[in-house]
Symmetry: C2
Subunit: 110 residues, 2 copies
Amino acid sequence: MNLHHPSREDLDVSMVLHALSDPHRLHIVKKLAEHGAEPCSCGGFGIDLTKSTLTHHFRVLREAGVITQRPAGTSKLNSLRREDLDARFPGLLDAVLAAIPAPPAAQVPV
Amino acid sequence: MNLHHPSREDLDVSMVLHALSDPHRLHIVKKLAEHGAEPCSCGGFGIDLTKSTLTHHFRVLREAGVITQRPAGTSKLNSLRREDLDARFPGLLDAVLAAIPAPPAAQVPV
DNA sequence: CAGATAGTTCGCTAACCGTCGTACAATTAG
DNA sequence: CTAATTGTACGACGGTTAGCGAACTATCTG
């Protein structure tokens, strides 16, 4: 099962915007941006969704070219494709990151 | 039939991004950006879609807070809500505008 | 008034999307 | 080998969406 990542030239604005238009996915992207390219496995995002649903969201992000997924043991390491996004759509990622609000409605902040 | 426009504080990133994630709507936004706040009626965008479908797209844009629609005679004047968007999501609109590619697949370019 | 013009509204269809559960695959730990 | 962990694949579901056509409203112009 080869993980397909679109090449930089193949990035499509509408596809990227659509990938970013879901609160859960926005939250994922935000977390990834904070963690740099660290061991962000698919779990541990504090999102209250099923495993299969998470897989779905990560795939949407990956196929839109927003993130990279690299298998590592039984996990997958996710990272933002900052360079590619900045190259193709300058300023877009930063603007979106700055616009992301509170969590999408998962854990109570107290 | 009151045209509802969300107030600036009620603008939602995901909603805006979703509104912008359609090639046709992206094209509309691009044209509006070029024309400033000029007499951009709903037709005249060179989009090969039915009137009802156009109505639909303009409503999505309006309800997301991306555009304003003001009735003027038998037409409607559309304009970008630049100020509001820039205030809530600084840099986002410009980044998206810069990223918009060729037309979404409508009229022959020459 | 009559006609033209510009959008809206209302079904309706086909596709898509987010979500889930269950079953499966792959890797690591005992 | 067995069990646990992590994620994927697949099928199903309900809701949303983009698109159309046809009928309608509202305005402006004769």
